[in-house]
Symmetry: C2
Subunit: 123 residues, 2 copies
Amino acid sequence: MESKAAVASLSALGHESRLAIFRLLVKAGPVGIAAGEIARRLEMIPNTLSANLNVLSHAGLIVSRRDGRSIIYSADYAAMSGLLGFLMEDCCNGNPQICAPLGDIVAKAADCDGTCLTELETA
Amino acid sequence: MESKAAVASLSALGHESRLAIFRLLVKAGPVGIAAGEIARRLEMIPNTLSANLNVLSHAGLIVSRRDGRSIIYSADYAAMSGLLGFLMEDCCNGNPQICAPLGDIVAKAADCDGTCLTELETA
DNA sequence: CTCATATTTCCAGCATATTGGAAATATGGA
DNA sequence: TCCATATTTCCAATATGCTGGAAATATGAG
């Protein structure tokens, strides 16, 4: 991910409502959630929500597909991975020794598939 | 890290100049860089830079200390770790199976201390 | 075709962010 | 004390972002 895209993503997520929307979509998984359902759950006004969904979409963080009258939004995990990778990049490439505090985060992520947890705990 | 702090951090980093400043400081490590030196390297006007350093500082992403006439800024790794952890949180706790694409990121971070790389590659 | 639902687009007012010039503050040296 | 350096604060202009009401578009049902 290049810097411009990272700025767009970070800027999009640097907004209370949009961060809430994105987190909701991440939790929802690939199945996604319809715009109206998002508005209901987060108590947002439809047009404002639409504007915020548009910002997230333009940043590449979410994707949409139509299903009947509804438009289903879902998080783009590749974009999220790219953003996380971008943020970690400098740490590891530029200054390897300062990655130690990230161990618990790595362990938490590694815990997803159960691998790699024990070695990190002992490290 | 709670949501409010995450929004502040993401919003602070969602700005071209500030992201460049932060990445420079992350690369610089704990020794940090003086404000004037940052301005020189990134070709920024001192007062504008100061305003942006203030935003990053208020977001808790960087810290400063005085050294003679200079003020040295350095990245706060705990804050960065907290932010990354916050972003990964939903992924792992809410929807474990979608963490797979994060494997390479985890591997990259794990590569910092050389542990845990081989297992992730085979996973 | 007509209607109800779902969502977006348009628009304008309001709020907030960004910028850089000029002045102020802080430190150290002569 | 006086001066140069380093950085910040003050300030006003400009730009950008956010919001929600109203209207427009799209889809499916009867």
